[in-house]
Amino acid sequence: MSSHVKEHHGHEHQPLGGRVLTLPFLICAALVAVAGVILFQRYTQGLAAVSNLNDGYPWGIWVAIDVVIGSAFGCAGYVIALLCYILNRGEYHPLVRPAVLASLFGYGLAGLAVLVDLGRYWNFYHMMLPWYAQPNSVMLEVGLCVATYTLVLVVEFAPAFLERFGIEGLRAKLNRVLWVFIALGVLLPTMHQSSLGTMMVIVGHKLSPLWQSQMLPVFFLLTAILMGFAIVVWESVMASLNFRRPMETPVLSKLAGLMLVVASLFVVLRVVDLIVRGQIGQIFGGPQSGWFVVEMALMISGLALLIPKANRNRSRALFLSASLLLAAGILYRLNVYLIGFTPAVGPWHYFPSVKEIMVTVGVFALEIALYLLFVKKLPVMHAVHPEHG
């Protein structure tokens, strides 16, 4: 009996249980249905029927938000695996499964969003065929890397599945080789998250000098790591509130320290990069400089909140800081992919249509609905043990 109790004190995962058809779940399902109807129109009448995409702005929010920002949301699994298994910080272990699950949906749905955006989606498999491959293409690297990583995430999450359905033999076998997938699960996001930045290097003068830099891969990697940390903190606080679980504050406060380091590094490198390129003056009145100021203000206020050590133990401060840093990362990526971009021979205008926005909303709603379903039905979250006494 005592060993049993001890086991539950250890690192055990449990399905949260509870009703599946809750109000948030149903709202999400309704939003997914709305997106489905819009997508029917998109596939029967073309992209212009539902979106404001045009030849000046061939990439809109489906790329910038669903893929570029959505995959950064999916970096929770990346940073936690890095901490837990590569840097061997066992204390982060409770965060692994929820993080991997969030990543799985983040990446899986980014892949889905690509199929929505591709103008000739029926040819998408050409990306995987070596005789079509064009090795100079940054996008080929990103595409293959993201596809492989999604499979890696499936394998990383498989133990929860196998555990739930009692397939112990396979689970034991998988555990013996899991280190290969963990290593891949750290390598692949490092590659494609930085390459998401490299992708915009080739647009050259069309991206405002406030963002155009050969440092783009470095900044994209930094925002991926930062947003990975921030989403873990954010999600953990949300899960605590909504599922009435105790806060994981001690672990989160350590993450907060890491967020501070990464965010500070980002700000310093960003300013150094602007100075070295001789573009620092663009901050004052350059194209889209207002958005640069907002981006920096979000980043700096988010990290400033974490400077007093006491704040890193306050869940409210942590939540606010994580939200600010997340917003800063989102805005940075949006600036690079949309706001800071001016087409070559214009004028062109782009603002997403309502239908376009509803598709993006639907993608994220699907992510939330699946997440809710999975944490209730599968052993994802750490078992909560009642306090002694």
């Binding site: 590569i86 591709l118 064009q134 293409s137 555990n175 290593a183 490299t198 021979v345």
Partner: protein, 359 residues
């Protein structure tokens, strides 16, 4: 469980030194990264290790020379382009009211910009009273837009599935819709805003000028050069066209000059007569496409500065692929760096998960 014990052990002894190590590692790598980045960014283009060498033009590259001072804005080239390439009529936004025709079919072809229906278009610049041809002040001028067929094309560099290719001999940038996945990265990356996608078609294609390669195969001229009455659009080997452009930009106002029509070498499409014309407006010395982004096979000369004609002028002399491919090729050279990182990660992951019973 063992992992629990492991983490307990960790927190007791080893963690202090490890934490210190981690902190130093973070600090150290941050400083190193900052130093490396600064070096990379600060290096001048020729010393920048990340930049790959520019691609030269194929020796037999062909293209067009457009002379804005010869263009009379008749748009015969626009019509010919549509016919030869079987492109549907296009309607500019301002014409929609009266140009609806019966149902969807427009009466007039009235494109104002390149699109998935229009591979070649004549645009006009006008200023003030618009009285004088080829004058930037109170004047007007024409510009022809079509694919410039870059020496180092961005669209070819970005295409993940080799749908956009550059012919090794003619240098023509071709597009193969059967390979294309419709990602529109070519549309996004083209520094001249050339490739276009059809957003109104559920099965839309990327469209761009392919220099009428089907005509060239029959030893016939590209549609636009074939019908141009003044020789404003001239076909030929890019080297020959470049020499011709230099000859024209050196001409003085008031002198008579000979202007050929069709193929500058008189071979493709058969020999054609040229014409003598008085040089009425001073040419800009700038030959558009000679140096822009690594050079283009199609060139333009004009009496009005090219920025006024809405062409990108403030661009580097090397194509953008020199940097983006340079970065990728440096990071992924022989996949050595990723393989090394993977080996390190795999070693650590193997060591650190060995004692874990779950996960």
């Amino acid at each position: 469980m063992s992992k629990n014990m492991m983490s307990k052990n960790k927190t007791s002894g080893a963690s202090v030194s490890r934490r210190g190590f981690l902190r130093n590692a973070v600090k150290g790598s941050a400083a190193a990264a900052a130093a490396a980045c600064t070096t990379v960014v600060a290096a001048p283009p020729e010393a920048n290790a990340l930049v790959r060498p520019p691609k030269p033009l194929p020796p037999d590259a062909v293209g067009l020379l457009y002379d804005s001072t010869l263009c009379i804005g008749c748009k015969a080239c626009v019509t010919a382009c549509k016919e030869v390439n079987h492109m549907p009529p296009d309607v500019g936004p301002a014409q929609q009211g009266w140009n609806a025709g019966g149902g969807d079919k427009p009466i007039y072809d009235s494109p104002v910009e390149l699109s998935a229906r229009t591979l070649n278009v004549i645009k006009a610049y006008s200023h003030g009273t618009g009285a004088t041809k080829d004058a930037a002040e109170n004047g007007f001028a024409f510009i022809k837009r079509q694919c410039l067929h870059c020496a180092d094309p961005s669209c070819v560099s970005v295409c993940p599935v080799s749908a956009m290719t550059k012919d090794a001999k003619t240098g023509i940038v071709n597009h193969d819709p059967s390979a294309c996945i419709g990602c529109r990265y070519c549309v996004l990356s083209c520094p001249f805003g050339v490739p276009k996608y059809d957003y109104n078609d559920a099965f839309g294609e990327i469209k761009k000028c392919q220099l009428c390669k089907q005509q060239l195969a029959k030893n016939e001229l590209p549609g636009c050069a074939d019908v141009c009455p003044t020789g404003a659009t001239l076909f030929g080997r890019t080297e020959d066209l470049k020499a011709e452009a230099k000859r024209r930009t050196a001409l003085k106002v008031g002198e008579y000059a000979h202007y050929p029509r069709g193929d500058i070498a008189g071979k493709v499409g058969g020999p054609r007569s040229g014409h003598e014309k008085l040089v009425e407006a001073a040419y800009q010395t700038h030959i558009y496409g000679e140096k822009e982004l690594g050079g283009t096979q199609c060139l333009a000369v004009s009496a009005v500065p090219f920025d006024k004609l809405n062409l990108p002028t403030n661009v580097p002399e090397n194509g953008y692929p020199t940097l983006s491919e340079g970065i990728q090729h440096t990071l992924y050279a022989g996949m050595i760096a990723p393989a090394t990182v993977f080996a390190g990660l795999a070693y650590l992951a193997h060591r650190n998960t060995k004692n874990h019973t779950d996960e």
